[in-house]
Symmetry: C2
Subunit: 328 residues, 2 copies
């Protein structure tokens, strides 16, 4: 599952804080409808917020070239709206009751409204992008959304599959999450006229950061405090979505059998969920996942090492450190 809130402690306030606020304003002024229910759903979504991480990546990447706030803000807003669209649709699948601690659109209004709120957001995002970015970037974006859809379908396809491999998991989160992070950086850099090398480096940074971000998010299903994450421990695997820590456990000869038997039970007792979480800890699934996340974060840092050491690079490095800190 995907969520942003309080996930990242990096501070990018000084360098792009004002422009993030303008992105926020831009999103707000674009998500309106005369249809009252839709309007309420949109308003709640905007207010539920999130860290606006993808917009931050667009803007910060833009700082490595000729930074034009006017050009980047609609684009950053569009990518965030697009991300919100996928979250709203995601929640239909997950039957999620809360997202970022707030009731989801589908819980409040029903899945009917959620489907069309998502479609509305998609449309809005596309229109904004159409008017703000180069055609080739639209094609890139379209490929990324295609990949997100494929990633989600794949996640569904492998639900309750105890033989899913680490490799399949990584491919899935690449599609589901990391590619949009990569594209955010790529588009910000591209539209600001960065060199080809810089664009590629920032894109790769985004991808690696996105991979670490998703692994860290998936870890919260086992290590998170429900009061903070807004979702119960074990929600992912109860719904059949087996993420990295559990996949690791299922691959550990000493832990596989007990874990598999528990997962196969019809209807989990709270004690079953607790025991599965415990087995994941005991098997080393948590440590393994943290190490892998760290590896991606280190790779992310390496990707931007050759870029000029400016405040934007420091801000990106701070994002990485913020995520690294969460993992220890």
């Amino acid at each position: 599952m995907r969520d942003d809130k309080k996930q990242v402690n990096g501070s990018y306030g000084d360098i792009i804080g004002e422009d993030i606020a303008r992105v926020e304003q831009y999103i707000r002024s674009n998500l309106v409808s005369k249809q009252k229910i839709l309007e309420s759903a949109l308003k709640e979504l905007v207010e539920a917020g999130g860290k606006r991480l993808r917009p931050a990546l667009v803007l910060l990447s833009g700082k490595f070239g000729k930074y034009q706030a006017k050009k980047l803000i609609p684009m950053a807003a569009a990518i965030e709206i697009l991300h919100t669209a996928t979250l709203v649709h995601d929640d239909i699948i997950d039957e999620a009751k809360t997202r970022r601690g707030m009731p989801t659109v589908q819980t409040r209004w029903g899945k009917d409204i959620a489907v069309f709120t998502g479609d509305f957001l998609f449309t809005k995002a596309f229109l904004l992008l159409t008017s703000s970015t180069a055609f080739e970037n639209l094609q890139r974006l379209s490929r990324v959304i295609k990949a997100i859809c494929e990633g989600e379908v794949e996640q569904y396809q492998y639900r309750y599959d105890k033989n899913v491999t680490v490799r399949q998991y990584l491919k899935r989160i690449g599609r589901k999450t990391a590619l949009l992070f990569a594209l955010s950086c790529f588009i910000g850099a591209h539209e600001s006229g960065c060199s080809r090398d810089a664009i590629r480096s920032l894109g790769k940074f985004g991808f690696n950061f996105g991979m670490a971000f998703q692994i860290t998010d998936d870890l919260l299903d086992f290590t998170g405090d429900p009061a903070k994450t807004g979702k119960p421990v074990g929600r992912d695997f109860v719904q059949g979505v087996y993420t990295l820590p559990l996949i690791y456990t299922l691959n550990s000869p000493d832990f596989r059998d007990e874990t598999a038997i528990l997962l196969d039970k019809q209807g989990y007792e709270p004690a079953d969920v607790d025991r599965i979480v415990e087995l994941v800890h005991l098997s080393g699934g948590i440590d393994y996942s943290r190490r892998l996340a760290s590896r991606y974060l280190k790779r992310a840092i390496t990707c931007i090492k050759t870029l000029p050491p400016n405040p934007a690079r420091t801000a990106l490095e701070d994002l990485v450190k913020g995520l690294m800190d969460r993992n220890h």
Copy 2:
């Protein structure tokens, strides 16, 4: 609800038949994915087909200007893909088991797949349109999709509402269906360099034809043969979607009470459904709806009366006649 199959008997084969086949081919070659489930879902959707009415409207309207098949085919395909996206999402809401006589994506694969198949289709449609139409048309299209979403939300909002008015119904189907018909004509004419008057006339034709089309489709819920329509009689109102014939009945003093009591029952027996259908017939709801559809069809004809009498106009008139015949 919306469906095309066998709804319209007009023949436009002679004048645009080959290009419709090329639209078909274009759709087929664009809806592919390496993800196997997605690929299967897409394939089935393409094969289930439909009359490709919206593409026909794009192409026929183009015939009133400088017709360029190369330019119009991607656009016509994109509009059809967009329409298919809304149908797939529509089916999630309706929990429809069949569409065009075939199992729906959600029946076959689950609503998870349906949500993302729809998103995939949306993305594809946008990308095709981005590369084939003027920016102003993209903005128009975006407004139409916004309206479709609002129309769907409205339909949901007024579910089980026995006080819904004819006016509200007409506004809803305008948003849900007629605007995309109007846009299909508009874009076809616009991109072919028709005069402003011709563009407007064709757009209005599309709108009126779309209104009649949806009313006729909604009539099938009361008059259709399940073997032909592929859906059980009364499915709309059983799901709380009250369409024109029933709205008329609920506004008839002699029939309102019995109808309202039946509609309020928890869980309908087959006999209840039959009786509601009977009441709709007895109250004159069917005749009224047929008359209203006819009125829209006549208006549609009037809209294109001032256009040059060419084979395309004849084909559009044939479409109208085809729908008119279904209503008698």
